[in-house]
């Protein structure tokens, strides 16, 4: 919903937030530059994954290792967490009260943690089937790519908990508002990376 007047990526606070909105522009753009460099990093890891697709060295491949139901549940969890973060952004923008803001942020972090739980369960199932990162070049590339995204999600969860702590300690001040807006960009960006992962790794591998 970028209408004329949108000054930075993500949901704009608008002039109703006064100085908070004015301060956001540079910080949000700087964070956007970081996200794009992170996208390049993910892209190169995707490239190394694509070049290792045939290097299974006689080891197990996607059909033996992947579980499409689990990948689907993870996808829905991450999409739901993106939506709850959107609700948190709206609660922040329209000043719907600190409690509602914290409730949506907590829902987001819970969905993120459940996502990580499912992912860890997937990895341990793969290890149990003899599909560890040391088995083949293909599996090394897999464990370079998918857990890299998982680490980003873990980082996002820790960041979110820190923000909730900041709200409890300082209230919803300028630093907290801009922190939430940057984390919103990061969280939605991770969901985009996950779209690429489930399409290339899971669906592409299981065709």
């Amino acid at each position: 919903m970028s209408r004329p007047g949108a000054k930075y990526p993500g949901l704009n606070l608008t002039s109703a937030h006064g100085v908070d909105d004015a301060e956001a522009e540079n910080l949000m753009f700087g964070f956007w530059v970081f996200l794009m460099s992170d996208a390049i990093l993910f892209g190169m890891v995707f490239a190394s994954y694509a070049t290792s697709l045939n290097s299974t060295a006689g080891g197990p491949g996607p059909h033996q290792l992947f579980d499409i139901n689990s990948a689907f549940i993870e996808t829905v969890l991450l999409l739901a967490s993106s939506t709850t973060f959107g609700m948190a952004s709206l609660a922040l923008k329209y000043k719907r009260g600190t409690l509602r803001l914290i409730a949506w942020l907590t829902a987001t972090v819970l969905l993120g943690v459940v996502f990580l739980g499912f992912e860890l369960h997937d990895f341990s199932a793969m290890l149990a089937k003899g599909g560890g990162p040391g088995r083949s070049g293909y599996l090394s590339a897999f464990f370079g790519l998918v857990p890299l995204h998982g680490l980003h999600v873990l980082g996002g969860c820790i960041w979110l908990l820190c923000l909730v702590g900041q709200i409890a300690r300082y209230g919803v001040d300028t630093a907290v508002k801009i922190g939430i807006m940057r984390l919103a960009l990061f969280w939605h960006f991770l969901d985009i990376v996950w779209v690429a992962i489930f399409s290339v790794v899971y669906l592409g591998g299981l065709t």
């Binding site: 919903m1 970028s2 996208a39 892209g43 999409l79 000043k95 489930f198 399409s199 592409g204």
Partner: protein, 110 residues
């Protein structure tokens, strides 16, 4: 912190809430279809790969539009940065895959 931020805020809020809901709905459908196609092996493999990539590209655009609020309606550095990063990614990823595939073929590793 509970007073409205400006007179027509309630209307704006409802509109943006609908926007997020629509975005989540589109994304869910764009996720369900490729998963269903793969799960039931509905079409042949080459077509399936094309369909998966197409759905993924559309879903990425939906996420940019509804969650990150990027659009073509106004010129901003954000969009230019996405397009430039996409260009870099295209060159580097396609170049890597091309060179490594060619190398594997010449060394008959496949």
């Amino acid at each position: 912190m509970n007073e409205p931020i400006h007179p027509d805020a309630a209307q704006d809020e409802r509109r943006e809430l609908h926007s997020y809901r629509n975005g989540a709905g589109f994304a869910l459908v764009l996720t369900l279809v490729p998963f269903a196609l793969v799960h039931w092996h509905a079409i042949s493999r080459p077509n399936l790969l094309i369909a998966i990539s197409a759905f993924a590209l559309v879903q990425i655009c939906v996420h940019f539009r509804f969650f990150l609020h990027i659009s073509f309606s106004h010129q901003r550095e954000d969009l230019q940065l996405i397009l430039f990063s996409a260009l870099l990614l295209g060159i580097m990823v396609a170049g890597t895959v091309w060179i490594m595939a060619s190398l594997a073929q010449r060394m008959s590793m496949t």
